[in-house]
Symmetry: C2
Subunit: 323 residues, 2 copies
């Protein structure tokens, strides 16, 4: 069994709405076991009468909720019966191999730092978009580490390689996000990082400019957290913006074929990173997949699936091998 | 007359190919006067028999070319008869009010620094994309100033406001590119810049995330040059990538209406910043519009038009007013 702990509280939508994502994930993966952490009475009411394998779901009673407005340290220390702390505790104790949450980012970091073992120098936030041709790649760091030293970018590269190996890319290639393709170009940080990556154990193939982000070579895009956040959010904003622009124009042109509608929906899902995909916090003894606060049941389904794949392919062992 | 100096050499394409962009610009704007700087014999051969107002074009003989491979300082000091140095000299002497070039970026900067008067603390590179709804806005700095202090971002904001006023936006609003919308979020640099912008004379309305770049409020997007370069190139790469993806799918679907083709071509031009639009170097006594090395006659036409508008609306005076 692959055990995943799910914090079902702390998102905008109520557990009763999010829970159907858990059923879908259970029905999809026959060796998935889910611990659902939250208010037991509410969860049991939501699950009653639903079709799922009861042997593969356990409810952990954790009625408290950590809010976005809570002080993260106080909340993690004070709300021991919160859904988040209970889910992290299952990972700490080795009962769950991955954690899924749509709760407050600050509290998630604090809980991981206080309760889990660090297995990398610098835990980082990773996202996995798709290129134009559908190939997955990852961007790391996406916003957890702002203002960091060049050495950390090598650590990010290793976490990214471990991640790509866990999702099936045997020999991941690493690129460095930069304002120029040449090795000597860049900010003080990226020039230094380029040197360190060249000297490191990862398969570093050079710098990558923004123009190449969806078409260029490379499985792991390495960047400092500020740039990574700008990169990822701009990708989403521009892709969805252009899609909307085309959609409006196509409506005016009277082109409303079923084929086009399906294409639009497919691309909307592909580039809507915030709505469906989670960000992965890597570098602790268990991977933590964080969904957006406005997560739906579909988001929960997607991020449990990611957690399941990472746990099944032992991401933590792969990180240890890289480092 | 609005006099613009055009460096017709130093791009990948030969002057004979680029020159027709000059004719188109002359025919478009009846009070435009162009100094074409380059090899006189070659230019005269290219212009002979073409339809344009001969009273509004002067050829300045400057047979030398500054190459991308030249050392910028040596080239500017040594090649006094180069098309670039001649064009900058026309601006220095007050004969031309703006400069257009598709030459080597390093040499352009050096020539401006050595030959022109600085009218802003920190000259910066500005680009002018369009939002989804077609509204123009500007991003400043786009790559000239990497690793800069927060104070410089206020200077960029002022240059951006002067630019927007010159192209017709009466009361430009300023936003700061950041990894979060809240004032307190960001890197050390953006947190400090946010404070300084709040205390400055510009109309600063807050931080902007990448998701909002094509749809959000704000006429001037302020950022440090590394982030600005990542932002602009990512916008282009993602927009053109998504367009190509849709185009391929539409071909497969057999949707090849004229309306869709026109839409595709329109959007391709809108988002292909590198091919058609220039970057504007602001902060010297004359604005310098730099086209891509792979510029075509259409690029030259576009960037002469930008230069003409900035000169006609006295961008330099607007910069002095802001600062």
């Amino acid at each position: 069994m692959i055990e995943v702990a799910v914090d079902i509280q702390g998102a905008d939508n109520p557990p009763s709405e999010l829970i159907s994502g858990v059923f879908d994930a259970l029905n999809d993966n026959k060796d998935l076991f889910v611990y659902v952490c939250g208010d037991k009475a509410a969860i049991e009411q939501a699950v009653s009468g639903k079709a799922y394998d009861k042997k593969r779901l356990a409810v952990i009673d954790a009625p408290q909720t950590i809010l976005n407005t809570d002080n993260p340290v106080d909340a993690v220390n004070g709300k021991k019966d919160s859904s988040l702390v209970s889910a992290v505790e299952l990972c700490r104790a080795g009962k769950a191999k991955a954690l899924v949450t749509c709760g407050a980012t600050g509290a998630i970091f604090v809980a991981a730092m206080l309760m889990l073992k660090k297995i990398a120098d610098c835990p980082a936030l990773l996202c996995e978009p798709r290129k134009i041709d559908g190939t997955p790649f990852c961007i790391v760091d996406c916003g957890a580490n702002v203002d960091c030293r060049a050495e950390k970018l090598v650590s990010f590269a290793k976490l990214g390689c471990a991640y790509m190996k866990a999702i099936g890319t045997e020999k991941p290639k690493v690129v460095l996000l930069n304002n120029g393709a040449e090795d000597k170009k860049g900010s003080a940080l990226t020039k230094k990082a380029n040197e360190l990556l060249r000297a490191s154990s990862v398969d570093f193939i050079g710098n990558l400019e923004g123009t190449q982000i969806l078409t260029g070579e490379g499985d792991v895009v390495v960047c400092e957290g500020f740039s990574g956040n700008i990169l990822l959010k701009t990708m989403e904003g521009v892709a969805l913006g252009v899609l909307k622009e085309i959609d409006t124009a196509m409506n005016k042109l009277g082109i409303d074929s079923d084929g086009y509608k399906k294409l639009h929906d497919k691309l909307y899902k592909k580039y809507n990173y915030t709505e469906l995909d989670g960000a992965v916090l890597l570098g602790f003894s268990a991977p933590i997949i964080k969904g957006h606060g406005a997560a739906t049941a579909e988001t929960v389904y997607h991020i449990i699936k990611s957690a399941y794949i990472l746990a099944r392919n032992d991401i933590s062992e792969k990180i240890r091998q890289e480092i």
